[in-house]
Symmetry: C2
Protein backbone atom coordinates (compact mmCIF):
# COMPACT_ATOMS: atom_id res chain seq x y z
CA UNK A 1 0.00 0.00 0.00
CA UNK A 2 1.23 3.55 -0.72
CA UNK A 3 2.55 5.54 2.21
CA UNK A 4 0.42 8.69 1.96
CA UNK A 5 2.66 10.39 4.51
CA UNK A 6 5.02 11.41 1.75
CA UNK A 7 2.30 13.03 -0.32
CA UNK A 8 0.95 15.44 2.28
CA UNK A 9 1.30 19.21 1.84
CA UNK A 10 4.02 20.99 3.82
CA UNK A 11 2.74 21.96 7.28
CA UNK A 12 -0.23 19.62 7.07
CA UNK A 13 -1.11 17.42 10.05
CA UNK A 14 -2.82 14.07 9.67
CA UNK A 15 -5.00 12.75 12.51
CA UNK A 16 -6.31 9.23 12.98
CA UNK A 17 -9.44 9.20 15.14
CA UNK A 18 -10.60 5.96 16.74
CA UNK A 19 -13.95 5.09 18.31
CA UNK A 20 -13.00 1.92 20.25
CA UNK A 21 -15.15 -1.19 20.25
CA UNK A 22 -14.73 -4.96 20.11
CA UNK A 23 -17.40 -5.92 17.55
CA UNK A 24 -17.20 -2.66 15.59
CA UNK A 25 -14.38 -0.14 15.84
CA UNK A 26 -14.70 3.14 13.93
CA UNK A 27 -11.75 4.97 12.37
CA UNK A 28 -11.39 8.22 10.48
CA UNK A 29 -8.42 10.04 8.91
CA UNK A 30 -8.48 13.83 8.69
CA UNK A 31 -5.80 16.06 7.16
CA UNK A 32 -5.51 19.62 8.47
CA UNK A 33 -3.75 22.21 6.31
CA UNK A 34 -3.96 25.63 7.91
CA UNK A 35 -7.67 26.03 8.69
CA UNK A 36 -8.72 23.51 6.06
CA UNK A 37 -9.89 20.05 7.11
CA UNK A 38 -10.00 17.24 4.57
CA UNK A 39 -11.43 13.74 5.03
CA UNK A 40 -8.96 11.19 3.70
CA UNK A 41 -10.59 7.95 4.83
CA UNK A 42 -13.12 6.50 7.22
CA UNK A 43 -14.63 3.12 7.96
CA UNK A 44 -15.09 0.41 10.53
CA UNK A 45 -13.18 -2.70 11.58
CA UNK A 46 -15.56 -5.54 12.41
CA UNK A 47 -14.57 -8.69 14.28
CA UNK A 48 -16.55 -11.94 13.92
CA UNK A 49 -18.67 -12.81 16.96
CA UNK A 50 -17.80 -16.48 16.44
CA UNK A 51 -14.16 -15.90 17.37
CA UNK A 52 -12.77 -15.90 20.91
CA UNK A 53 -12.09 -12.63 22.69
CA UNK A 54 -8.32 -12.92 22.21
CA UNK A 55 -8.72 -13.75 18.49
CA UNK A 56 -11.00 -10.72 18.05
CA UNK A 57 -8.45 -8.48 19.78
CA UNK A 58 -5.80 -9.81 17.40
CA UNK A 59 -8.06 -9.00 14.40
CA UNK A 60 -8.50 -5.43 15.66
CA UNK A 61 -4.78 -5.04 16.23
CA UNK A 62 -3.81 -6.35 12.79
CA UNK A 63 -6.37 -4.19 10.95
CA UNK A 64 -5.42 -1.07 12.90
CA UNK A 65 -1.75 -1.81 12.31
CA UNK A 66 -2.42 -1.81 8.54
CA UNK A 67 -4.30 1.49 8.82
CA UNK A 68 -1.48 3.19 10.75
CA UNK A 69 1.05 1.82 8.23
CA UNK A 70 -1.01 3.13 5.31
CA UNK A 71 -1.75 6.62 6.64
CA UNK A 72 1.22 7.25 8.97
CA UNK A 73 -0.81 9.68 11.15
CA UNK A 74 0.95 12.53 12.97
CA UNK A 75 -1.47 12.20 15.86
CA UNK A 76 -3.79 9.46 17.10
CA UNK A 77 -6.94 10.40 19.04
CA UNK A 78 -8.92 7.78 20.96
CA UNK A 79 -12.24 8.36 22.65
CA UNK A 80 -12.34 7.92 26.42
CA UNK A 81 -15.67 6.33 27.11
CA UNK A 82 -17.94 6.31 30.12
CA UNK A 83 -20.27 3.44 30.84
CA UNK A 84 -21.76 4.24 34.22
CA UNK A 85 -22.80 0.89 35.64
CA UNK A 86 -23.03 -1.11 32.42
CA UNK A 87 -19.98 -3.17 33.31
CA UNK A 88 -20.66 -6.03 30.88
CA UNK A 89 -20.52 -3.82 27.78
CA UNK A 90 -17.69 -1.82 29.28
CA UNK A 91 -15.29 -4.71 29.83
CA UNK A 92 -15.26 -5.65 26.12
CA UNK A 93 -14.73 -2.07 24.95
CA UNK A 94 -12.02 -1.42 27.55
CA UNK A 95 -10.11 -4.53 26.48
CA UNK A 96 -10.32 -3.38 22.84
CA UNK A 97 -9.22 0.11 23.91
CA UNK A 98 -6.16 -1.35 25.65
CA UNK A 99 -5.08 -2.85 22.32
CA UNK A 100 -5.63 0.50 20.54
CA UNK A 101 -3.52 2.41 23.08
CA UNK A 102 -0.79 -0.25 22.92
CA UNK A 103 -0.61 0.07 19.13
CA UNK A 104 -0.38 3.87 19.40
CA UNK A 105 2.51 3.52 21.86
CA UNK A 106 4.22 1.03 19.54
CA UNK A 107 4.12 3.59 16.72
CA UNK A 108 5.98 5.97 19.06
CA UNK A 109 2.93 8.18 19.63
CA UNK A 110 1.37 9.55 22.77
CA UNK A 111 -2.32 9.20 21.90
CA UNK A 112 -4.79 11.96 22.70
CA UNK A 113 -7.47 10.57 24.99
CA UNK A 114 -10.57 12.60 24.18
CA UNK A 115 -13.70 12.69 26.32
CA UNK A 116 -17.15 12.73 24.66
CA UNK A 117 -17.86 16.33 25.75
CA UNK A 118 -14.48 17.41 24.32
CA UNK A 119 -15.48 15.91 20.97
CA UNK A 120 -18.76 17.85 21.04
CA UNK A 121 -16.99 21.02 22.10
CA UNK A 122 -14.39 20.77 19.33
CA UNK A 123 -16.89 19.98 16.57
CA UNK A 124 -20.00 21.95 17.62
CA UNK A 125 -18.61 24.56 20.02
CA UNK A 126 -20.46 23.29 23.08
CA UNK A 127 -20.21 20.11 25.13
CA UNK A 128 -23.91 19.33 25.26
CA UNK A 129 -24.47 18.91 21.50
CA UNK A 130 -26.72 16.09 20.27
CA UNK A 131 -25.32 13.21 18.20
CA UNK A 132 -27.13 14.42 15.04
CA UNK A 133 -25.62 17.90 15.46
CA UNK A 134 -22.13 16.42 15.75
CA UNK A 135 -22.61 14.34 12.60
CA UNK A 136 -23.99 17.34 10.70
CA UNK A 137 -21.03 19.49 11.70
CA UNK A 138 -18.53 16.74 10.77
CA UNK A 139 -20.11 16.62 7.30
CA UNK A 140 -19.97 20.42 7.04
CA UNK A 141 -16.41 20.84 8.37
CA UNK A 142 -15.06 18.16 6.03
CA UNK A 143 -17.05 19.40 3.03
CA UNK A 144 -18.70 16.03 2.47
CA UNK A 145 -21.77 15.57 0.26
CA UNK A 146 -23.61 13.57 2.93
CA UNK A 147 -23.19 12.32 6.49
CA UNK A 148 -20.49 9.61 6.78
CA UNK A 149 -21.84 6.17 7.56
CA UNK A 150 -21.95 4.04 9.69
CA UNK A 151 -22.18 6.03 12.92
CA UNK A 152 -18.97 4.56 14.37
CA UNK A 153 -16.99 5.89 11.40
CA UNK A 154 -18.67 9.32 11.66
CA UNK A 155 -17.85 9.37 15.38
CA UNK A 156 -14.23 8.52 14.60
CA UNK A 157 -13.97 11.47 12.18
CA UNK A 158 -15.33 13.74 14.95
CA UNK A 159 -12.70 12.30 17.33
CA UNK A 160 -9.95 13.00 14.75
CA UNK A 161 -11.16 16.62 14.43
CA UNK A 162 -11.19 16.93 18.23
CA UNK A 163 -7.65 15.51 18.40
CA UNK A 164 -6.46 18.19 15.97
CA UNK A 165 -8.23 20.88 18.03
CA UNK A 166 -6.58 19.71 21.27
CA UNK A 167 -3.19 19.61 19.54
CA UNK A 168 -3.65 23.16 18.21
CA UNK A 169 -4.76 24.35 21.65
CA UNK A 170 -1.73 22.74 23.32
CA UNK A 171 0.64 24.31 20.77
CA UNK A 172 -0.91 27.74 21.20
CA UNK A 173 -0.56 27.44 24.99
CA UNK A 174 3.12 26.55 24.52
CA UNK A 175 3.60 29.56 22.25
CA UNK A 176 1.90 31.75 24.86
CA UNK A 177 -0.72 32.98 22.37
Amino acid sequence: MPNLNNGRPSGAVRALGIDPGLGTLGYGVVLQTGHDLQCEAYGVVKTPTGLSLSARLLCLYNELHSITEEYAPDIIAVEKLFFGRNVTTAEMVWQARGVVLLLAAQTGQEPYEIKPNEVKMAVCGYGGAEKAQVQGMVTHLLGLAKNPSPDDAADALAIAIAGLAVRNYDRNILKGS
Copy 2:
Protein backbone atom coordinates in the same frame (compact mmCIF):
# COMPACT_ATOMS: atom_id res chain seq x y z
CA MET B 1 17.95 -15.80 27.54
CA PRO B 2 17.82 -19.61 27.43
CA ASN B 3 14.72 -21.16 25.94
CA LEU B 4 13.68 -23.50 28.76
CA ASN B 5 11.16 -25.13 26.45
CA ASN B 6 13.90 -27.38 25.15
CA GLY B 7 14.86 -28.58 28.62
CA ARG B 8 11.45 -29.81 29.76
CA PRO B 9 10.82 -33.51 30.40
CA SER B 10 8.92 -35.50 27.77
CA GLY B 11 5.16 -35.21 28.33
CA ALA B 12 5.53 -32.20 30.60
CA VAL B 13 3.24 -29.21 30.17
CA ARG B 14 4.28 -25.69 31.06
CA ALA B 15 1.62 -23.14 32.10
CA LEU B 16 2.01 -19.39 32.38
CA GLY B 17 -0.57 -17.92 34.76
CA ILE B 18 -1.31 -14.20 34.70
CA ASP B 19 -3.11 -12.03 37.25
CA PRO B 20 -3.82 -8.93 35.13
CA GLY B 21 -3.28 -5.41 36.40
CA LEU B 22 -1.95 -2.08 35.15
CA GLY B 23 0.27 -1.00 38.07
CA THR B 24 1.19 -4.54 39.14
CA LEU B 25 0.70 -7.65 37.03
CA GLY B 26 1.46 -11.05 38.58
CA TYR B 27 2.90 -13.97 36.63
CA GLY B 28 3.76 -17.54 37.51
CA VAL B 29 5.22 -20.46 35.56
CA VAL B 30 4.30 -24.02 36.58
CA LEU B 31 5.53 -27.23 34.97
CA GLN B 32 3.30 -30.29 35.23
CA THR B 33 4.88 -33.74 34.73
CA GLY B 34 2.32 -36.47 35.36
CA HIS B 35 0.84 -35.56 38.75
CA ASP B 36 3.88 -33.53 39.77
CA LEU B 37 3.71 -29.72 39.80
CA GLN B 38 6.90 -27.68 39.84
CA CYS B 39 7.27 -23.92 40.25
CA GLU B 40 9.68 -22.60 37.63
CA ALA B 41 9.28 -18.86 38.12
CA TYR B 42 7.05 -16.19 39.56
CA GLY B 43 7.09 -12.46 39.98
CA VAL B 44 5.39 -9.20 39.13
CA VAL B 45 5.65 -6.64 36.36
CA LYS B 46 5.30 -3.11 37.70
CA THR B 47 4.66 -0.05 35.55
CA PRO B 48 5.62 3.45 36.73
CA THR B 49 2.66 5.61 37.76
CA GLY B 50 4.37 8.63 36.19
CA LEU B 51 3.96 7.22 32.68
CA SER B 52 0.88 7.66 30.50
CA LEU B 53 -1.64 4.84 30.20
CA SER B 54 -0.45 3.88 26.71
CA ALA B 55 3.20 3.89 27.80
CA ARG B 56 2.34 1.66 30.77
CA LEU B 57 0.49 -0.76 28.50
CA LEU B 58 3.57 -0.88 26.26
CA CYS B 59 5.75 -1.67 29.33
CA LEU B 60 3.44 -4.54 30.28
CA TYR B 61 3.44 -5.87 26.72
CA ASN B 62 7.22 -5.77 26.37
CA GLU B 63 7.87 -7.44 29.74
CA LEU B 64 5.28 -10.15 29.10
CA HIS B 65 6.69 -10.69 25.63
CA SER B 66 10.11 -11.38 27.19
CA ILE B 67 8.54 -13.82 29.68
CA THR B 68 6.71 -15.77 26.94
CA GLU B 69 9.92 -15.84 24.89
CA GLU B 70 11.92 -17.13 27.85
CA TYR B 71 9.53 -19.83 29.06
CA ALA B 72 7.65 -20.72 25.84
CA PRO B 73 4.55 -21.86 27.76
CA ASP B 74 2.29 -24.59 26.35
CA ILE B 75 -0.74 -22.88 27.83
CA ILE B 76 -1.50 -19.37 29.04
CA ALA B 77 -4.14 -18.86 31.75
CA VAL B 78 -5.52 -15.38 32.51
CA GLU B 79 -7.85 -14.55 35.37
CA LYS B 80 -11.26 -13.23 34.41
CA LEU B 81 -12.04 -10.62 37.01
CA PHE B 82 -15.24 -9.21 38.38
CA PHE B 83 -15.46 -5.70 39.72
CA GLY B 84 -19.10 -5.20 40.51
CA ARG B 85 -19.68 -1.48 40.32
CA ASN B 86 -16.10 -0.31 40.86
CA VAL B 87 -15.79 0.89 37.27
CA THR B 88 -12.81 3.18 37.83
CA THR B 89 -10.52 0.38 38.98
CA ALA B 90 -12.00 -1.95 36.42
CA GLU B 91 -11.24 0.15 33.35
CA MET B 92 -7.48 0.13 34.00
CA VAL B 93 -7.36 -3.61 34.63
CA TRP B 94 -9.52 -4.40 31.60
CA GLN B 95 -7.27 -2.34 29.34
CA ALA B 96 -4.22 -4.20 30.70
CA ARG B 97 -6.07 -7.50 30.23
CA GLY B 98 -6.75 -6.64 26.57
CA VAL B 99 -3.00 -6.37 26.03
CA VAL B 100 -2.40 -9.72 27.79
CA LEU B 101 -4.99 -11.51 25.63
CA LEU B 102 -3.58 -9.90 22.48
CA LEU B 103 -0.10 -11.15 23.31
CA ALA B 104 -1.44 -14.67 23.94
CA ALA B 105 -3.13 -14.63 20.52
CA GLN B 106 0.08 -13.36 18.90
CA THR B 107 1.95 -16.38 20.29
CA GLY B 108 -0.64 -18.59 18.54
CA GLN B 109 -2.34 -19.56 21.80
CA GLU B 110 -5.97 -19.61 22.81
CA PRO B 111 -5.69 -18.42 26.41
CA TYR B 112 -7.69 -20.07 29.20
CA GLU B 113 -9.88 -17.44 30.83
CA ILE B 114 -10.24 -18.60 34.42
CA LYS B 115 -12.83 -17.24 36.86
CA PRO B 116 -11.87 -16.65 40.52
CA ASN B 117 -14.07 -19.51 41.77
CA GLU B 118 -12.47 -21.85 39.21
CA VAL B 119 -9.05 -20.97 40.63
CA LYS B 120 -10.25 -21.76 44.16
CA MET B 121 -11.89 -24.99 42.99
CA ALA B 122 -8.76 -26.18 41.17
CA VAL B 123 -6.37 -25.36 44.01
CA CYS B 124 -8.46 -26.01 47.14
CA GLY B 125 -11.26 -28.27 45.87
CA TYR B 126 -14.08 -25.82 46.53
CA GLY B 127 -15.02 -22.47 45.03
CA GLY B 128 -15.56 -20.63 48.30
CA ALA B 129 -12.00 -20.97 49.64
CA GLU B 130 -10.40 -17.99 51.39
CA LYS B 131 -7.36 -16.24 49.91
CA ALA B 132 -5.05 -17.55 52.67
CA GLN B 133 -6.20 -21.12 51.98
CA VAL B 134 -5.45 -20.71 48.27
CA GLN B 135 -1.96 -19.38 49.01
CA GLY B 136 -1.29 -22.18 51.49
CA MET B 137 -2.36 -24.82 48.96
CA VAL B 138 -0.23 -23.25 46.21
CA THR B 139 2.80 -23.47 48.52
CA HIS B 140 1.94 -27.10 49.35
CA LEU B 141 1.18 -28.24 45.77
CA LEU B 142 4.40 -26.69 44.44
CA GLY B 143 6.52 -27.95 47.37
CA LEU B 144 7.75 -24.48 48.25
CA ALA B 145 9.43 -23.67 51.58
CA LYS B 146 7.20 -20.62 52.15
CA ASN B 147 4.29 -18.76 50.59
CA PRO B 148 5.26 -17.01 47.34
CA SER B 149 5.31 -13.23 47.59
CA PRO B 150 3.94 -10.72 46.65
CA ASP B 151 0.27 -11.72 46.55
CA ASP B 152 -0.11 -10.97 42.82
CA ALA B 153 2.63 -13.50 42.02
CA ALA B 154 1.08 -16.11 44.35
CA ASP B 155 -2.29 -15.53 42.66
CA ALA B 156 -0.67 -16.00 39.25
CA LEU B 157 0.78 -19.37 40.32
CA ALA B 158 -2.73 -20.41 41.44
CA ILE B 159 -4.08 -19.31 38.04
CA ALA B 160 -1.40 -21.38 36.27
CA ILE B 161 -2.37 -24.45 38.34
CA ALA B 162 -6.04 -23.83 37.50
CA GLY B 163 -5.18 -23.51 33.81
CA LEU B 164 -3.48 -26.94 33.93
CA ALA B 165 -6.52 -28.40 35.73
CA VAL B 166 -8.93 -27.04 33.12
CA ARG B 167 -6.70 -28.37 30.33
CA ASN B 168 -6.57 -31.82 31.92
CA TYR B 169 -10.35 -31.78 32.43
CA ASP B 170 -10.94 -30.81 28.78
CA ARG B 171 -8.59 -33.55 27.57
CA ASN B 172 -10.26 -36.18 29.77
CA ILE B 173 -13.68 -35.13 28.44
CA LEU B 174 -12.35 -35.54 24.89
CA LYS B 175 -11.02 -39.00 25.77
CA GLY B 176 -14.40 -39.90 27.28
CA SER B 177 -12.84 -40.78 30.65
